[in-house]
């Protein structure tokens, strides 16, 4: 197992060092904005805030409410594209 985790650590490190992680982040952000995911979640945020009260809402509240919904709402095409890029990167650098 430790060999695996070592391997994972190396790959993650490579991902960050080569700037690929940043690029993937940017790609994901722009795709999600384009497809309206951000606006959807923002609308959901509004509901949460109205529920908890403007003064008392915390980051934790938002994270707990938003993150699960956010994961689900990502469109399939975006997910596929990102996974493709990640796999391509792994295929290149996982040896």
């Amino acid at each position: 197992m430790s060999k695996d985790s070592k391997m994972r650590a190396t790959i993650n490190q490579k991902l960050t060092e080569m700037g690929e992680r940043e690029r993937l982040k940017e790609l994901l952000r722009s795709k999600l904005t384009e497809c309206g995911w951000r606006d959807q979640l923002k609308a959901h945020c509004k509901d949460v805030i109205k529920e908890k009260g403007l003064e008392h809402v915390t980051v934790e509240d938002l994270v707990v409410e938003i993150t699960p919904k956010g994961r689900v709402l990502v469109p399939d095409s975006v997910k596929k594209e990102l996974l493709q890029r990640i796999r391509a990167f792994l295929a290149q650098h996982a040896t």
């Binding site: 060999k3 391997m7 982040k25 994901l28 938002l62 956010g70 996974l83 796999r87 391509a88």
Partner: protein
């Protein structure tokens, strides 16, 4: 890209796929957290609900979709049928034709052939004057008149040149084969010369 053909030390396909999924998961969570922080800051700083307007104002500024009126509710061809009186010739002109009419009427626009009009006007004056002065010196006066008007015409022409873009036209006609023109209208002609 066939992953089965590649030999990977330690990790097989399922593990790689799991790794890919994990990385993807991290990225999505990152995006979600980013949004949460943004929203939270906007809430605490008070600008989260800024772009929400109350219902009343929304109704005030709704897009208008009536005939004869633009989307703001203003009548846009209100001034089409109004008429203005020209200060020069005292005629009543339609508003949309007023500017071009003024151009021609005052002799100040590009195509208003002011020189021709002035020449006609002045030649009429001179004609009347010379005739009234001496009928014996018709020839002399005639010469004077024609020379004078030609002089005037030439003067006017040179007067016109520095101000109007027609200068380039006369240059063009004279020096067709010389190098690139100083004027900027010569897109195609410059290319032709360079060939």
């Amino acid at each position: 890209m066939k992953m089965e053909d590649m030999s990977l030390s330690g990790l097989d396909n399922t593990k790689l796929e799991a790794l890919a999924q994990d990385i993807y998961s991290d990225l999505v969570e990152d995006a979600c957290l980013g949004l949460c922080f943004e929203v939270h800051r906007a809430v605490k700083q008070g600008y989260f609900f800024l772009d929400d307007t109350d219902q009343e104002s929304m109704k005030d500024f709704e897009i208008v979709d009536q005939p004869g009126v633009d989307i703001f509710g203003q009548v846009y061809n209100q001034w089409k049928n109004k008429e203005c009186v020209c200060p020069n010739c005292n005629r009543s002109i339609a508003a949309s034709r007023f500017a071009p009419h003024l151009e021609k009427c005052l002799g100040m626009g590009r195509n208003s052939s002011r020189i021709a009009n002035r020449r006609i006007a002045s030649s009429n004056n001179m004609n009347n004057k010379s005739e009234s002065d001496q009928e014996d010196n018709d020839d002399v006066n005639d010469n004077d008149w024609s020379y004078g008007s030609e002089k005037k015409a030439k003067k006017r022409k040179s007067d016109k040149n520095p101000n109007s873009p027609r200068r380039s036209k006369s240059v063009k006609h004279k020096n067709v084969l010389l190098g690139p023109k100083p004027c900027c209208r010569s897109g195609s002609s410059v290319r032709a010369v360079e060939r």
